[in-house]
């Protein structure tokens, strides 16, 4: 699941860059879609949070 979180973050950052530069998929060509870009940045950050929340060291059962 950590790999999935990183993959989602990477893809989301790429999609955000595409929307901010007017090349977003399924969007009007050459039109900057700020809200779509912000959304994908938020998804990317959320994925990194999800990655972080899987990072605690395992606890030993006593």
């Amino acid at each position: 699941m950590k790999i999935v979180a990183l993959a989602v973050a990477a893809i989301s950052f790429i999609l955000a860059a595409l929307y901010f530069t007017g090349h977003g998929p399924l969007a009007s060509p050459h039109k900057v879609h700020v809200s779509h870009g912000v959304l994908f940045v938020a998804i990317a950050l959320a994925s990194l949070v999800w990655y972080r929340l899987q990072s605690a060291p395992p606890t030993n059962a006593s």
Partner: protein, 281 residues
């Protein structure tokens, strides 16, 4: 738009954003019923709406400042630890964050096309009637359940997504964000009080984000002409929203959604009839 209209719309926004009666529905229906000819695409009106929403969001943030402080601390603690603990505040914090995700995603992609498709007064009136039956149905199903109230922190991550999806139904003008969130939480066996609190906590980041994304509209060239209306409207919306959430928090300790259902049924029904008979546009 006169200053009196601006104040009236601000009060309407502050109340209807939080009461389970659909602020978007009222924004369409009330000007139509009063024969106010407001151009909803005018840059000054759009900027005015941004300020109203910001005012409402700030009011919610202030009312729930203790809860938001706990949410912020809980998030930081979980990130530092690398794991979400069983702490009540931490669980609620992540339930709020997760519940915001569906409407965030769906809102960005669907809000404008949905409003364009369903923006007419008649369709909004029909959705107000549907909103009424959503609340009646939710209350009936909740009363039929014999289960004791679950505390908010007992909700699962999937439950948070379900409430978030219910909140997304408010993209349809005439369907209430808080009404759907409260009904969804009630069907998950929470109390009315906890359902309302969860709904208002969920609403805050959504309203804030929507306002911030629309912030560039405040810098359109003609907006300075409506600066006074916007500032007065923002303050009025904030004050009204604060009193609205204070009232509803107390109201849901002992009462339920049915009176709001009757209100939406009456408003939607009357508006539909007036629209069909061409008394209003």
């Amino acid at each position: 738009m006169s200053i009196e209209q601006a104040i009236a719309i601000a009060v309407l926004q502050g109340v209807s954003e939080l009461f389970p009666v659909s602020s978007l529905g009222h924004a369409v229906v009330v000007p139509a019923l009063l024969h106010w000819h407001i151009d909803r695409n005018d840059p000054t009106y759009l900027a005015f709406l941004v300020v109203l929403h910001l005012g409402t969001a700030i009011a919610l943030l202030i009312f729930y400042r203790d809860a938001w402080a706990k949410i912020a601390r809980a998030c930081v603690a979980a990130l530092v630890r690398g794991k979400i603990s069983d702490n009540r505040d931490e669980k609620i914090a992540w339930l709020v964050i997760l519940g915001t995700v569906p409407v965030g995603i769906l809102g960005v992609f669907l809000e404008k096309p949905v409003r364009a498709l369903f923006g007419s007064t008649l369709i909004v009136a029909i959705f107000l009637v549907i909103n009424a039956f959503v609340m009646f149905g939710g209350e009936a199903l909740r009363r039929r359940s014999t289960a004791n109230d679950r505390p908010l922190e007992a909700l699962t991550w999937l439950d948070a997504i379900k409430v978030g999806l219910a909140q997304s139904l408010a993209l349809l003008p005439g369907i209430s964000r808080s009404g759907c969130s409260i009904v969804a939480a009630l069907l998950l066996k929470t109390s009315h009080e906890d359902a309302a609190k969860y709904a208002f906590l969920l609403a805050t980041p959504v309203i804030f984000a929507a306002s911030l994304l629309e912030l560039p509209k405040l810098f359109a060239p003609e907006v300075h002409l409506a600066l006074v209306n916007s500032l007065v409207g923002g303050v009025v919306a904030a004050v009204t929203a604060y009193f609205a959430v204070a009232f509803l928090t107390k109201y849901f300790q002992e009462n339920d959604l049915r009176p709001f259902g009757w209100y939406c049924l009456l408003l939607g029904g009357v508006t539909a009839v007036l629209s069909l008979t061409k008394v209003i546009a």
